[in-house]
């Protein structure tokens, strides 16, 4: 009101006055519109954004991976603070706009900021629908919409209690599996008979339900929520305790997530007198009933329809940007949209209209063993709908046929098998068959032509294309396609990022495999080889031991160790020698022994005529020249004296070397021997990427040589200096300081956390010093020293794994395990 006059005065002063653009809402759609606007008409607008959420623009589509723990919030930010600064955008975080004055052309925030505009974009998004049953406002009842909801769910998941998700659609299922990943017991309550009924047909919905249930999520279909039950309000504020269905079933719950749908947030526009139906009514040019005001995103209603998937919203954003930049011809035409479920390990893709009909034919492929289902719905010579489950690799190509309304009469028989089956002479990759306007990246609406442009302009790596076009920058599932486009465009000049594959059986790196084992929940070597498309039938001597270790580390207690994938020493728990005999090294805790143990060892040496007895560098005794078939008997005798395997053969905890410390030494400051023994008793049995040797010295004179070990402790008057990443083998390297600990308990906890982090990050056969060099000493310190919660989680995880690992392998074999290893199949020499 008052601003109008100020306006007139200010405008005359500047030679090229920038128009003022105010944006209400800072979601993905307005973010995209501004990107496009700044490309098309840089410098033409001074932009002010009001964001009701107290943060920058992030990729809402990727909230589910944040919930499940596969991504962090930082990884899904689209525009960091720097972007707003670079483009001179004023961003009000945590400001909800409460009024639009169309006469005065201003928007006013709840904190009283009044922003005058020449053009206004309303992008207020949508509000989750809360079903109006009793108890829907109880504490512990959440919706699933933004980062705050995710954070609230994560907080609730810490109690590892029970969650009920109401709604078996896309968001509900993503929330359910995410909460399950976070350790909750989860049930899904769905009103309809089949899950995701709007995107899936019944057969694929059935496969999906099976996959969801296989993850331990219970599914209640045809289930109508009648009431949300609360705790007794008398002792304290009532919070949710369960959900009652209309058939009387009560599902106990500490958390209820409602994911039953969204409603456009149009109240602000309605109050401003704009035409509002279900959403804010816009014309094909995205303008509302006031031509200076655009509506964009989930709050807008175009062609009588509201939209919730990102692709059409990005199309709208492009139109708004074009209109603002002066292209009056730009119009929004909703095209078919495709849906993908972002639950890692469940691949489904659906698009178009796939309902049955008299005039429609369907083409179906099922491969039950592989869990593959594909259904194409054809009307006349056109593809109208598709559902892919299990193998979605041809989704982009088929979806392109559908969107273009292509005549499919020539490919009808073969299109099910993708572009590779289209009779091309060469074995062209999928991307070659796509036209320039085919969408490669569904998340960010990037077409093939745009990617080719970027490549021609000099982006010749995946990272560079991603940075310049945003293709594959969100969910990443099109990375392979983008790489194909790069290769097609520049040919052999394309050098994919130099990842070192594990071996010739795969193109994947150690790190990729570890990540995918967890993400895809692969729990056996054959499962890994199948899912990650191994090129050989059963791997090789390089990849199998690595996979065995990675699976063991990822699924303690669940994974069944595959002895045939272990190197002989670890398979028979002794060290093979050049003549085919074995050496036997019993554990000698902290390098301390006694007469009884020595006598037992001496007796074994005599009884089995063991040719050589040697003291090792790790303060124990090595019995060399034992024949394989003697091993179980030798172990039985050693076990009888209380001696167990020293794991001198393993990628595992080896020894803890000690000096005599304060108990005997006149210089000793702490009980280094005792600490060494306690460490060894705590750590033994654990498998690690490569061998792990420790030492504890009682004073800085360092007689136990702790400063060249994988992990070392040097006792000082004030406590314990912990060092790590030393080496004294192929390489010689002094250890790095990790931290100081005041007590033995703290020392042990920190070392447990360190070793667990190494177990999780180390590549197979990579010693601690190499791992530390690769990931950085500082980063390791940050996780095991500075971040106390992380340290505790790592140490807990280590302790959890140890319950399955601390079994003496010698005793198991004395008891008969793997007996076939120790006896010939036949002995014809005596005949």
């Amino acid at each position: 009101m008052r601003h109008v006059q100020k306006e007139v005065v200010g405008a005359a002063a500047s030679p090229a006055p920038r128009e003022r653009l105010v944006v209400i809402g800072n979601g993905m759609a307005p973010g995209r519109a501004l990107e496009r606007l700044f490309e098309a008409a840089p410098e033409s607008f001074a932009v002010t954004i009001f964001n009701a959420e107290p943060r920058v623009n992030y990729d809402r589509v990727m909230l589910s991976p944040v919930l499940s723990g596969e991504r962090t919030f930082a990884e899904i930010i689209i525009h960091g603070d720097g972007w707003y600064i670079d483009h001179g955008v004023t961003l009000y975080k945590g400001h909800r706009v409460v009024a639009i004055d169309r006469q005065a052309k201003t928007a006013t925030s709840e904190h009283g900021v009044v922003a005058p505009y020449d053009k206004l974009i309303i992008a207020t998004g949508s509000t989750p629908i809360v079903i109006p049953v009793p108890g829907s406002t109880l504490a512990g009842v959440l919706s699933y919409r933004d980062l705050d909801d995710v954070n609230a769910m994560l907080l609730a998941a810490q109690s590892r209690g029970r969650a009920v998700v109401i709604g078996g659609g896309l968001l509900g299922l993503e929330a359910a599996t995410g909460l399950k990943e976070r350790g909750m017991e989860v049930s899904v309550v769905h009103l309809m008979p089949t899950l995701m009924e709007r995107q899936l047909d019944p057969p694929s919905s059935f496969l999906l339900r099976e996959a969801i249930e296989a993850r331990g999520v219970k599914v209640y279909a045809n289930a109508n929520t009648q009431e949300i039950l609360g705790t007794d309000p008398i002792p304290g504020p009532s919070r949710v305790r369960g959900v009652r269905l209309d058939d009387g079933t009560v599902l106990p719950a500490d958390l209820v997530v409602m994911a039953v749908g969204i409603r456009p947030s149009a109240a602000l526009a309605r109050d401003a007198g704009l035409a509002v139906n279900r959403g804010i009514v816009v014309g094909p040019d995205m303008r509302t009933s006031d031509p200076d005001i655009f509506a964009l995103g989930e709050c807008a209603e175009a062609h009588g329809q509201c939209f919730g998937l990102v692709a059409p919203l990005y199309d709208m954003a492009g139109v708004v940007a074009a209109q603002l930049a002066g292209d009056a011809k730009a119009v929004f035409n909703p095209s078919a949209t495709a849906t993908k479920l972002k639950v890692t390990g469940i691949d489904l893709f659906s698009a178009g209209d796939f309902a049955d009909g008299e005039d429609r034919d369907e083409i179906v492929l099922r491969d039950a063993a592989r869990g593959v289902y594909r259904r194409l719905v054809v009307k006349g010579d056109h593809l109208t709908g598709l559902v892919l489950y299990g193998d979605v690799s041809h989704g982009a190509w088929l979806f392109d046929l559908l969107k273009r309304g292509a005549d499919i009469s020539g490919v009808r028989e073969t299109m099910m098998f993708g572009p590779g089956a289209q009779g091309c002479a060469s074995h062209d990759p999928a991307a070659a068959a796509l036209p320039d306007d085919a969408e490669i990246c569904g998340c960010n609406g990037v077409r093939k032509g745009r990617i080719v442009e970027a490549i021609v302009a000099g982006s010749t790596s995946l990272e560079s294309v991603r940075a310049h076009t945003k293709a594959s920058a969100s969910c990443g599932s099109c990375s392979g396609l983008v790489e194909q486009v790069i290769r097609l465009t520049i040919g052999d000049a394309y050098k994919p990022a130099a990842v070192q594959p594990v071996c010739g059986c795969t193109d994947l790196s150690h790190d990729d495999i570890r990540r995918l084992i967890v993400a895809k929940r692969l729990k056996s070597i054959p499962a890994v080889m199948q899912a990650l498309e191994w090129k050989t039938s059963c791997g090789c001597a390089k990849c199998r031991p690595a996979l065995n270790y990675y699976l063991l580390a990822a699924w303690p207690g669940e994974y069944e160790d595959d002895g045939q994938s272990r190197f002989i020493n670890e398979r028979v728990h002794a060290n093979i020698q050049k003549d085919g005999t074995y050496s036997v090294v019993p554990r000698m805790w902290g390098g301390v022994t006694n007469a009884a143990e020595l006598r037992a060892i001496a007796d074994v040496v005599d009884k089995f005529a063991i040719p050589m007895v040697k003291v090792t560098g790790g303060q124990r005794i090595d019995l060399l020249g034992v024949r394989k078939e003697q091993l179980p008997e030798v172990w039985a005798e050693l076990n009888a004296a209380g001696l167990i395997s020293g794991a001198a053969y393993g990628k595992a905890l080896r020894t803890v070397k000690t000096c005599v410390g304060s108990e005997w030494c006149r210089f000793g400051t702490q009980d280094s021997t005792g600490l060494g023994i306690r460490l060894e008793k705590f750590l033994w049995g654990s498998w690690t990427p490569a061998k792990v040797k420790l030492a504890v010295s009682g004073c800085p004179r360092n007689c136990a040589e702790a400063t060249c070990k994988d992990v070392g402790v040097v006792c000082v008057d004030s406590g314990y200096d912990i060092v790590f990443a030393g080496a004294a083998g192929l390489d010689i390297k002094g250890a790095e300081a990790l931290c100081h600990a005041d007590t033995e308990a703290e020392t042990i906890a920190i070392i447990a956390a360190l070793i667990e982090l190494y177990r999780q990050q180390g590549r197979y056969l990579e010693r601690i010093y190499k791992w530390a060099k690769r990931v950085g000493v500082k980063e390791i310190k940050a996780q095991v020293v500075d971040d106390v919660a992380k340290r505790r989680a790592l140490a807990d995880r280590f302790v959890f794994s140890q319950q399955f690992a601390q079994k003496d392998p010698w005793a198991e074999r004395v008891a008969g395990k793997d007996a076939h290893e120790f006896a010939p199949l036949a002995d014809l020499a005596v005949a």
Binding site: C540, A541, R544, Q564, I568, G580, L825, A826, A829
Partner: protein, 120 residues
């Protein structure tokens, strides 16, 4: 070498006694045989002696129809006994067949020969 030998098939045991992707040893008077079973239940017999430094092939990791020697990692073909990759050398192979779940090996070539040595 030119003299004709008649095949001498002997039953050395059931295939099931060998773990898949594994091997077991058959001890003979002058040598040891390594008898392998692949993931797809095929069986092969080689002298238990790597052409490189005599390592016991029976103790190696079996993959596809190859075995990696436990001593220095040479990979030897179970079908031909030839070292694979850049290495050159050949382990002796023996005719083997599986009948009714039993493994039969033809050891006629071994008769009267002292060229084989025990691996361990």
């Amino acid at each position: 070498m030119t003299q004709a030998t008649t095949a001498a098939w002997i039953d050395i045991g059931a295939l099931d006694l060998i773990p898949r992707r594994g091997a077991r040893v058959v001890r003979l008077s002058q040598a040891c045989l390594a008898v392998f079973r692949t993931a797809d239940d095929r069986a092969f017999a080689l002298e238990d002696r790597c052409p490189h430094r005599g390592g016991p092939l029976s103790q190696g990791i079996v993959h596809g129809t190859s075995v990696a020697c436990p001593l220095h990692g040479w990979v030897v073909s179970l079908a031909t006994g030839e070292a694979e990759g850049a290495d050159e050398g050949r382990a002796r192979t023996f005719p083997l067949r599986v009948e009714g779940g039993r493994i039969l090996v033809d050891i006629s070539q071994l008769a009267g020969r002292r060229t084989l040595q025990r691996a361990s």
